[in-house]
């Protein structure tokens, strides 16, 4: 479970696999990744489907899928509490769950959300209230090896200059998330060392 910084956004992620896959869904040379995002209240709708697609494309880029042809990997994300920056919270939970499950990955990734307020200031990891008042909202998935943008999902109007500034802010914020991953994994293995 990853908690957002200012708010209390929580998402629980579970990974199942490599497991059997239905013949209709199997891919001959790599694993089939399925992402399911369950909102806290109500059934999953079109918005959840587009968020699932963002998470799935990021995971497919980071995982070594060719090691498990004709198998299925399922990632289930359950929203426990949504107070803004939901997509980046889902990305962080997904990365930690995939890493914890022991699936081979070429790099780690993290999600960072930036909101541009009405007066042009950039807020990283906004709360739901800050998101509502913002003029533009962007979520980036940043990779751990070269800090490049793997996925971006944007909403609202902004200039190219502002986009580049947000990318820079996100790359800087990603350092803290990767350090958190490292500390968590270290704690997990400290028992059995």
């Amino acid at each position: 479970m990853i908690d957002g910084r200012d708010g209390d956004t929580s998402v629980m992620a579970g990974v199942y696999g490599p497991a059997e896959v239905k013949v209709s869904k199997e891919i001959y040379d790599r694993a089939t990744l399925e992402v399911l995002l369950q909102p806290k209240v109500g059934p999953a709708g079109v918005r959840e489907q587009s968020q699932e697609q963002c998470v799935r494309e990021t995971c497919e880029a980071a995982l070594l899928l060719s090691l498990h042809p004709r198998s299925s990997l399922t990632l289930i994300l359950q929203v426990l509490h949504d107070d803004g920056s939901l997509l980046s919270c889902c990305l962080n939970a997904a990365c930690m769950a995939l890493m914890d499950a022991g699936l081979s990955m070429s790099c780690l990734f993290c999600g960072v959300t930036c909101a541009i307020g009405a007066d042009g200031d950039i807020i990283a990891d906004p709360t739901a209230a800050q998101e509502k008042e913002s003029r533009a909202l962007m979520t980036f998935a940043i990779d751990s090896t070269e800090r490049r943008v793997m996925m971006s999902s944007t909403k609202g109007s902004f200039s190219v200059q502002e986009l580049q500034e947000c990318v820079a802010v996100s790359q800087k914020a990603s350092e803290k998330v990767f350090q958190f991953y490292r500390d968590s994994v270290r704690r997990r293995y400290s028992k059995n060392l």
Binding site: G17, P18, A19, E20, V21, L64, L67, H68, P69, R70, S71, S72, M99, D100, A101, G102, L103, S104, M105, S106, C107, L108, D143, S144, T145, Y181, R182, V185, R186, R188, Y189, K191, N192, L193
Partner: protein, 248 residues
């Protein structure tokens, strides 16, 4: 004979590493004509991938080393991926013609031929029913093909493999615990030996079968083994000590 070749790797032995962490090995820039030293390449085990002169970590875990140059990542995982020559506990799920289909906990069921048992011939078929437990070894296990099991070794002898299982309990534990149990000097095994006499079959797919002289003892040992995953070594020894004194 410590070459500076893998010094960056050797520094990190015993440390926790994450996927994406990279090591580059230095290339030799002077060649000594009097030594017959060949540039040595590291042998990569599970969790490490090699591309050119770079070594990239692909699973999170602790970096382990076996001299002279074998490195691998010791990671915690529950899901099994079949690998050749590993012995596993399988559950027979169906009999079709000459082949049994066995569930080994992986992404695909493995196939086990009825002739792959000691002393089996076309007329003398082995007594295997659906639902039986088998202890078998992989002869074919790669990502592209269906895995195949056999219950005989290279010379045709069973060597401990085959159908088993009356009166015991089958549990699922993490792959790391199974490797720790099977290691040559295993703390957990020596602690268990001092408790009660019991029979243990350990499969590398994370399945352990336990049978002790009474049902209660069997349950105690199975609970202990399952808790070993989450206890540190001192906590585990404390539990064993409490049990030896007779407290439950």
């Amino acid at each position: 004979l410590a070459s500076g070749m893998f010094s960056s790797l050797k520094e990190k032995i015993g440390e926790v590493l994450l996927p994406g962490d990279e090591f580059v090995f230095e290339s030799e820039d002077t060649i000594f004509l009097t030594d017959n030293v060949k540039p040595e390449r590291p042998v990569c085990g599970p969790g490490l991938r090699q591309s050119g002169n770079r070594l990239v970590v692909s699973k999170s875990g602790v970096l382990r080393h076996k001299p002279p140059h074998t490195f691998w990542m010791d990671s915690q995982q529950w899901r099994y991926v079949p690998a050749k020559a590993e012995t596993v506990i399988g559950i027979v799920t169906s009999k079709s013609g000459d082949i049994f289909k066995v569930d080994v906990g992986g992404s695909e069921q493995a196939s086990l031929s009825y002739l792959a048992f000691e002393g089996a011939t076309k007329r003398n078929r082995p007594n295997v029913q659906v639902g039986d437990l088998v202890f078998a070894q992989f002869t074919v296990a790669n990502k592209d093909m269906e895995p195949e099991l056999v219950c005989i070794d290279g010379s045709g002898r069973a060597n401990g493999m085959g159908v088993f299982g009356g009166g015991g309990l089958l549990l699922k534990v993490s792959l790391g615990l199974v490797r720790r149990l099977l290691a040559p000097q295993s703390d957990i095994r020596s602690d268990l030996e001092q408790l009660f006499p019991c029979e243990l079959v350990v499969g590398m797919n994370g399945r352990i079968w336990v049978r002790a002289s009474t049902i209660q003892q069997t349950l105690i040992i199975s609970n202990l083994l399952q808790s070993c995953d989450t206890l540190t070594a001192p906590q585990r020894r404390e539990q064993f000590r409490k049990l030896q004194k007779g407290g439950l």
